[in-house]
């Protein structure tokens, strides 16, 4: 699989959720400058996918902090720059709608 084979939306996130798997996740992570998906990062990614499944939108940082079991400080260490945005991308989800 290469980057070219996966359809993207306007934000560069996967266009089709069905294209996502662990391998795709690692590729997307590398695009975001994250070389390794360790256990803590997977906690966040799996939480993102679970919430999306239930609510149809990826969670905000506030929700991540409240419910994923990982505090804000660590979230920024795991996904420097923008935890909610980056983790959503790596989880194969569209960018969170959250903020208008």
């Amino acid at each position: 699989m290469s980057e070219l084979t996966l359809a993207r939306d306007a934000d560069g996130n996967l266009a089709n959720k069905a294209d996502w798997n662990e391998e795709a996740a690692l590729m997307l992570a590398k695009e975001e400058g994250i070389e390794l998906l360790n256990e803590r990062r997977w906690v966040v990614i799996n939480f993102m996918r679970k919430v999306f499944e239930e609510k149809g939108d990826a969670p905000s940082i506030r929700r991540l902090t409240k419910e994923s079991g990982i505090n804000t400080k660590e979230l920024y260490e795991l996904f420097p720059g923008g935890p909610a945005k980056k983790a959503a991308k790596i989880a194969g989800l569209p960018k969170p709608k959250g903020c208008i």
């Binding site: 969670p59 905000s60 940082i61 506030r62 929700r63 409240k66 419910e67 804000t72 400080k73 979230l75 920024y76 420097p80 720059g81 923008g82 709608k97 959250g98 903020c99 208008i100």
Partner: protein, 409 residues
């Protein structure tokens, strides 16, 4: 006798009351409205107070002046809603039952959510302008300030009136120029967003305005805490921005009563159908204004467009018909940009703010995403419209759903 209960007598609650009163048969329906405070604040006016353009007296009126006679008005804090029992408990120990409930409890700032924000420097060198107290305290500070680093920080999205922080820095540029000390004031706009605004086209155009007005932009800054001792704000990833005066937009959240009722999301906003405005969880509950979790702007203009839709859907619901009216996320915001000019944006869920013209019958076209004197008059006129037309539930000359007329794609 059936009961329609409205929680919150601010912008949205008052509009719904005035629209429904006289339309619902008074022999069949009793309408009750609950609020905790007697005074109605024109919140868009708070923006002008720090710069001495408005004072407190320009933005207040008694709420009851806008409630039609015959309305059952209850002044008490709401303790909680019990949606499965169809009743609401008040802090004054009253219990109100309902057949149909409209929740319009709005949103407010929560400075306690940020470490060190409401600390030693609060209302000394750190202010908000989203409350009357903050806006007035900041006016007092600015009057005697001789210059330094002015930092505006948005803590977290979503916030109500997402253009207000931009207007604030535009007006600060104008105000300190008028005072002859603009060269001594460094204005710095610090936001968690990737640019000046939420939507890409508008963000880039508004970003250019910041540049032109010599306002520094720091984007993707998520505040973790305020260091009161060294006067700086620190982000989660340890970036620092020093300030002499910090104007903060703290996290905006729904009321605690919503949390106590177990009806809110992580911001205490209520899950709401984005088209019908019906609660996702309870068929006889409807939500309007800032209290919803809709992916639209939280603004008075938005609440007004929602009110047209909700009015129809409440009538349909009462008549046992399907909810046909559908809200499209329409927002229409005048952005005051200083020096007697303004910028206008008009958008909805699907269409981001675009440049072009905005036709308004009888008044003439406004320019979209451009700085003009006409747009400034639009903003000035908004206050009159707010008190005299909007709150009273009158029709405004603007369609509730967005129109593409005049816009350039």
């Amino acid at each position: 006798m059936k009961k329609l209960l409205i929680l919150g007598g601010g912008t949205a609650g008052t509009m719904m009351l005035n629209k429904l009163n006289g339309v619902l048969d008074a022999n069949d329906w009793q309408i009750t409205i609950v609020d905790q405070f007697e005074t109605h604040y024109y919140q868009p006016g708070f923006l002008f107070i720090p710069f001495g353009i408005y004072s407190k007296k320009d933005v207040v009126k008694p709420k009851r002046d806008y409630f039609p006679t015959g309305t059952n008005v209850v002044m008490s804090e709401i303790d909680k809603i019990e949606p499965n029992e169809n009743r609401v408990l008040l802090k004054n120990n009253q219990v109100l039952t309902y057949d149909v409930l409209i929740i319009a409890t709005g949103s407010k700032i929560s400075p306690d959510e940020i470490e060190g924000l409401k600390d030693e420097l609060w209302f000394k060198n750190i202010f908000d302008f989203y409350t009357i107290e903050g806006a007035c305290a900041l006016a007092g500070f600015f009057k005697n300030w001789q210059g330094g680093k002015l930092v505006l920080n948005i803590a977290e999205m979503p916030i109500k009136c997402p253009v207000a922080p931009l207007e604030f820095v535009f007006l600060a540029d104008w105000y300190f120029t008028e005072r002859g000390i603009r060269d001594k004031v460094e204005i710095h706009f610090v936001t968690p967003l990737p640019g000046a605004f939420t939507k890409p086209k508008a963000s880039s155009i508004l970003g250019d305005f910041l540049d032109k007005k010599n306002i520094k932009l720091t984007s993707e800054f998520s505040i973790a805490k305020v260091d009161n001792e060294n006067k700086k704000i620190i982000s989660w990833d340890e970036k620092e921005v020093p300030f002499d005066v910090l104007v903060s937009i703290p996290p905006n959240m729904g009321d605690e009563a919503i949390a106590r009722s177990g009806m809110g999301d992580e911001f205490n906003f209520i899950p709401t159908n984005k088209h019908t405005l019906q609660s996702d969880n309870y068929k006889n509950i409807f939500i309007i204004g800032d209290a919803t979790n809709l992916p639209s702007s939280k603004a008075g203009s938005v609440a007004h467009f929602e009110a047209d839709i909700l009015f129809e859907n409440i009538l349909s619901y009462i008549n046992g018909e399907p909810l046909r009216a559908s809200f499209d996320g329409h927002a229409n915001c005048f952005i005051e940009s200083g020096f007697g000019k303004g910028i206008l944006i008009d958008f909805n869920y699907d269409t981001e703010p675009l440049p072009g013209k905005f036709p308004l019958p009888g008044v003439g076209p406004f320019s979209l995403l451009e700085e003009t004197k006409m747009n400034h008059y639009g903003k000035v006129m908004f206050r009159w419209m707010y008190w005299n037309q909007l709150l009273t539930g009158k029709e405004l000359p603007i369609e509730s759903n967005m129109s593409m007329a005049g816009k350039r794609g």
